[in-house]
Amino acid sequence: MTGAPPEDPPGPVPAAAVHALRGVSKNFGGVRALVDVDLDVHDHEVLAVVGDNGAGKSTLAGVIAGAYRPDAGRLLLDGAPVVLGSPGEARTRGIAAVFQDLALCDNLDVVENLFLGHESTRGALLDEVTMERQAWELLGQLGATVPSVRQPVRTLSGGQRQVVAVARALLGSPRVVVFDEPTASLGIRQTAEVLNLVERLRERGHAVVLISHQATDLQAVADRFVVLRLGRVGGEFDARAVGYEDLLAAMTGAALPTDRKSSR
């Protein structure tokens, strides 16, 4: 498929879906990473994507955030078909991602990391004072406890680095924020901070897509679950009604749910 959006009319998408995937497939050298995936992402909602290693979670995150171009299927933003050529293009369309490898520059301070690459997209260089003020504002909104914005990020804890990465993703007020394995390798205190952060983002109206294999962490903040198994959607559940065993069954294929308990 080329850059042009497909000809056929978009399928039924609930008005509230900010971002939707329809029939998305993605192969990597003959390996089918995603097969015919449908997914809706809503404002003011935390969508958790759960699955075993190799279920296609990170590929899905990449497709949503413009890092991978699907081999088949459509992406719809507010119901209109789009092609996301790069994470930068996704970002300009209001989709930001916080990936596993945080991609922060260790030797730069918090302010420098936040605005790295942002100066050019804004057309004008922001002065230091404005940048520092914005940095504090953003970190404050996220309830972050960073000692100083002029501290090199290598001196920060894992949780604080995660907050800086999220703050950077939030510059330009994206509607959709995608997290790939945000609590992997974090201690319990930092995990708590990340989960609090996800809750705050939802409260502020963002659509949050949370991708992880840590079901306990996901259950703490998710509104809706999508289970991926071998690249396919293995089940969709309302988080208030789903138990750990249901998720595990859907992840391992022990009992594929027949009724899709969708919340909306």
Binding site: H44, E45, G187, I188, R189, T191, A192, L195, N196, V198, E199, E203, T216, Q219, A220, V221, D223, A239, R240, G243, R264
Partner: protein, 372 residues
């Protein structure tokens, strides 16, 4: 000692007032205990006059307070003078289970102690609040079905083994009541009735400075007072309980068709912005709370009714109608209507209460180096 411990910090003059001892005697005792390393004094001013602030010495160790809510966990650490040194909240899954929750709490306590550069053995005691009736003698959840996944769990035993310290468990609304009485909106009052209105509805009673637990910990469960004999079935198995009228799922359910999916915080924010539907829901909730509180007042005649939990953040939108109904439905008294106020400690009330019982436990078990 006990007076300093309960209030965290007070001046020598206040100490004389509280204990009934002469200022000279207090001064001598304070001097003695300060040189023994038990108390710490620092100069301060009160009403423009110089005074000596008395607290417990920091090196006496730490206590932890843990509050399990319906959807979150909160852990705080404090020193022996009740100064909070660390405070961390963490979201929990709906219907979270005791084993996962207690494990997370234990890990969080341990990491927070470490973050203060303290050794694990400096942790003297842990207080825990759970949103279900607790048999405080055994430290077990005393009911079935009120907190799914926690039925009959011996919270004290599990946590004490994980952390290697004495653990005291109580109902969360009881701990909120204790905290508001010692440090909050009900300071100086007796008796105190506390209503905690959040996901569920709980309550606590403090008589003569002590919590009322009843036979097996069910005392104060105002959420399960009958409001309508023919009302909906409650999670406790009864019919028409207060909670089936003002519990968060019920309030949110009433707004679902008109307002969509909201959180309790959304409802409060919109009501404050003037949304008529949200205001109405809170107004009605206030009236229902008033009916239940009035019944309680007619039995106990407390000096003050404190309303805590997330719904209390609605302020007068909720408290106004509640106060009116309480006034209408209580026996008129020459002392005038009972005071109905919002919690002063807010979301921190329960965890502060947990810290307080932890400190009490540490004192009783002699960990503080003195018996209080």
């Amino acid at each position: 000692m006990s007076a300093v411990q309960q209030r965290g910090s007070l001046t020598q003059i206040e100490l004389a007032g509280v204990t009934g001892l002469s200022p000279a005697t207090v001064s001598n005792i304070v001097k003695e205990l300060t040189s023994a390393g038990v108390l710490h004094t620092s100069p301060s001013t009160r009403s423009g006059r110089r005074a000596l602030q008395v607290t417990l010495a920091r090196n006496l160790g730490l206590v932890a307070g843990v509050h399990f809510g319906t959807r979150s966990l909160r852990v705080a650490l404090a020193d022996a003078s009740m100064q909070v040194l660390a405070d961390q909240r963490m979201p929990l899954a709906p219907d979270h289970r005791a084993d996962t929750g207690l494990r997370r709490a234990a890990l969080l306590v341990a990491e927070m102690v470490e973050s203060l550069d303290a050794r694990p053995e400096e942790l003297l005691a842990v207080g825990v609040g759970v949103p279900a009736p607790v048999d405080v003698r055994s430290g077990r959840i005393a009911t079935v079905g009120m907190l799914r996944g926690w039925d009959g769990v011996a919270v004290t035993d599990v946590l004490a083994e994980e952390l290697g310290t004495p653990v005291t468990v109580d109902n969360d609304a009881n701990l909120g009541a204790l905290a508001e009485t010692r440090f909050g909106a009900a300071a100086g009052h007796d008796a105190v009735a506390y209503l905690r209105v959040s996901h569920g509805v709980g309550g606590g009673l403090v008589l003569g400075g002590r919590l009322v637990h009843g036979r097996a910990g069910v005392a104060g469960e105002i959420g399960h007072v009958t409001i309508d004999e023919n009302g909906p079935i409650c999670r406790c198995g009864n019919r028409g309980c207060l909670e089936t009228f003002v519990g968060a799922p019920v309030l949110l359910g009433m707004l679902a068709s008109s307002h969509g999916h909201l959180t309790l915080r959304d409802v409060i924010a919109r009501a404050q912005e003037g949304d008529a539907g949200c205001r109405r829901v809170l107004f009605d909730a206030g009236q229902h709370l008033g009916v239940a509180a009035a019944n309680l007042c007619n039995l106990v005649d407390p000096e003050i009714v404190v309303v805590g939990g997330q719904l209390a953040e609605a302020g007068e939108i909720l408290l106004g109608p509640m106060r009116t109904v309480v006034e209408q439905r209580t026996v008129p008294s020459t002392a005038g209507p009972v005071e109905v106020v919002a919690s002063r400690l807010g979301a921190a009330a329960e965890v502060r209460g947990a810290l307080a019982v932890a400190l009490d436990t540490a004192g009783v078990s002699g960990s503080l180096g003195v018996t209080v």
